[in-house]
Amino acid sequence: MHGIGVFVCHCGSNIAATVDVKKVVEMARLEPGVVHAEEYQYMCSEAGQERIATAIREKNLKGIVVCSCSPRMHEATFRKCAEKAGLNPYMVEIANLREQCSWIHKDIEEGTEKAVILARAAIAKVSLNTSLLPGESRVTKRALVIGGGIAGIQTALDIADAGYEVDIVEKTPSIGGKMAQLDKTFPTLDCSACILTPKMVDAAAHERINLYTYSEIEKVSGFVGDFTVDIRKKARYVNMDKCTGCGVCMEKCPSKKALSEFNSGLNNRPAIYTPFAQAIPNVPVIDPTQCTKLKTGKCGICERFCQAGAIDYTQKDEIVTRKYGAIVVATGFEIIKLDNLEEYAYSQSKDVITSLELERIMNAAGPTKGHLERLSDGKAPKNIVFVQCVGSRCDESKGKPYCSKICCMYTAKHAMLIRDKYPDVNVTVFYIDVRTPGKNFDEFYRRAVEEYGVNYVKGQVGKVAPQPDGSLLVHGVDLLDGKQLKISADMVVLAAAVEPSPSVRKIATMLTASIDTNNFLTEAHPKLRPVESPTAGVFLSGICQGPKDIPETVSQAGAAAVKVVGLLAKDKLLTNPCTAKPDELMCNGCGSCANVCPYGAISYEVKEINDHGIRENRRVAVVNSALCQGCGACTVTCPSGTMDLQGFSNRQILAEVDAICR
């Protein structure tokens, strides 16, 4: 191809400091087909783009190469710029001189040499580019939200308020999530239930929100705008239409040994249960692992007492299939297991508890009706020790490498609430650092120290030793005083690390959304696209993306909703034109390509083929470009070399290989 333009970006000093950009321009000029080459400080700036557009127009360029940052950053920018100047946007190639050259090399000579080769490869590729036109695909105007905690509820409400249908799929019997378990919230000490329950009610009452509680995602197929999802509605053994939520069944159920999930296992619940009084929907489920009737066939008490006739022991799991244009993951978090941290005696003493358990103890609906008391003997504690960073900021052999972010603040909250309600209780907090970046956060922590007299000790706890008298001897250190401390406490509260809900791995795999080494979902760009997954049409809300508190979660939930609405508002989506394209002349209809296509985009038709003047009917592969996602599996499988991938054709890639190895 003749008429190639090359534009080398300095990116300030990001590229220019380790790559001699003038040399790159000079060398690019020598490449076949190149008629124009220039460098500029910031190619992505308006002035930079104008230079590109002018060159395209004036020199009648047929293809351009921009040597700049990663194509994942600015490919779209330069494509748009080319299009405005009248060039097909797919006649643009990017040479990644920043992330994959200047940022990782120090030596200018070495960096420049590599940059020249990368530019050369992009020039070789662009000379074989062809103009491509994106197709269109439809958008199903319905969103799926996976997870019914505050993140999922807020996202669903915002999407529904904008006028689109939303389904929430929640694996437990009620929406509400972890926030429903909290007593008060920092830094304003609002009652958690008081601010959450209205939102739960709004979600349930919203005409465009549909709840699938006690349900899980079974299978996901399709792509942005057109996902097909199988949802498993687990058998509730209670007919949702008939149940009036009177609660008699729960009272009468004789099997009351199961640990209450809602109360963090601190007390029991019946086999037929709603997780908590304000549950939505207010329809119980029967736990098949606990129900005597389901296990042995004998009992049936709940059925006998149910005046509405809602109990149905014969219910089976049901799979419903729904179509969605967008999917939001809001799967939330769990508290880590403390088996590797037994020095804190969590499993050895009932009075060593996690902070989430303390929330339940402090809550009026909790196992102690909101009275601060020891779970071992019901006595009021006089000395409470809080331990921060339990399993956070650890080497991987001991816990999680990240900061759980919320612990400093909720510990200050707990300490303050206890000192407020029980002024004679001594509260000591062992901390490594107190991290309070957030509006009114440090002020909140300071109040705990200055107004409420919470004793903050800089240092960590090495061991908690339960004593014969039921007290707990806490072995700690005060690093500022240089003293080892032994504090006799009657309750120890551990700020255990948070981790993404274990269910997220399976869901991420189904969505082909990527996940990091800590099982947090990866965002499309850590700064600029924080609520989008790299997989188009999949969005992130809440802790599944990284530790965050309620205000942050709610903001992110709203942001994810806007992204979803922006997508659903479109009637058609432009599809990626880099799709597979068969050469009918060479195809013998063997069927190999359809076998490997993950999208069912390839079918076979009998067509009349004109093979050098001989007309005959042949069975040949046909690609549905609306379905094809452009992975290229078929191109390699094809035994006759019929199938090629537009934008990444065999000849283009071979040209790159040649240019690199030259």
């Binding site: 960073c389 080497d395 090495g462 250190v477 690093l479």
Partner: protein, 130 residues
């Protein structure tokens, strides 16, 4: 002088096989140490002494002979720094120097009784001498 300080610090890191830079200064080692009271340089300080390249002070301190190698700090260190190993490496530097032994055979008879297990003497010799 500076170079030799750096070299000593590197030697401690090599002998101990630990990376003191991983330390987040939480103090869990010092909270766990059963010999803390008797130590002039505390377990968590060993880590920063190595970072600050002051191994000379470590090689002279009393803590070397008080550390029990009970591995409480090693087991509980959340950052895999394992201060006990650093103490041991500093001790090695001390006993490998001439006259660096903390125990001489001549003092043994006065210290033993008839029940004393061989294991004690063997261990003490290994820990307190080259």
């Amino acid at each position: 002088m500076e170079a030799s300080k750096k070299r000593q610090s590197e030697m401690v890191q090599e002998i101990s096989g630990t990376n003191p830079l991983k330390c987040m200064k939480c103090g869990k080692c010092s909270a766990s140490c059963p010999a803390y009271e008797k130590m002039d340089i505390k377990p968590h300080q060993f880590v920063s002494y190595v970072i600050n390249e002051d191994v000379e002070a470590l090689a002279k301190c009393d803590s070397l002979w008080v550390c029990l190698s009970c591995f409480a700090c090693v087991e509980r260190c959340p950052r895999d720094v394992k201060p006990g190993k650093i103490v041991d490496a500093a001790r090695q530097l001390a006993v490998r120097q001439k006259g660096g032994s903390y125990l001489v055979p001549d003092e043994i008879p006065a210290l033993v009784d008839e029940d004393l297990p061989q294991q004690l003497l063997v261990s003490a010799f290994r820990k307190f001498r080259r």
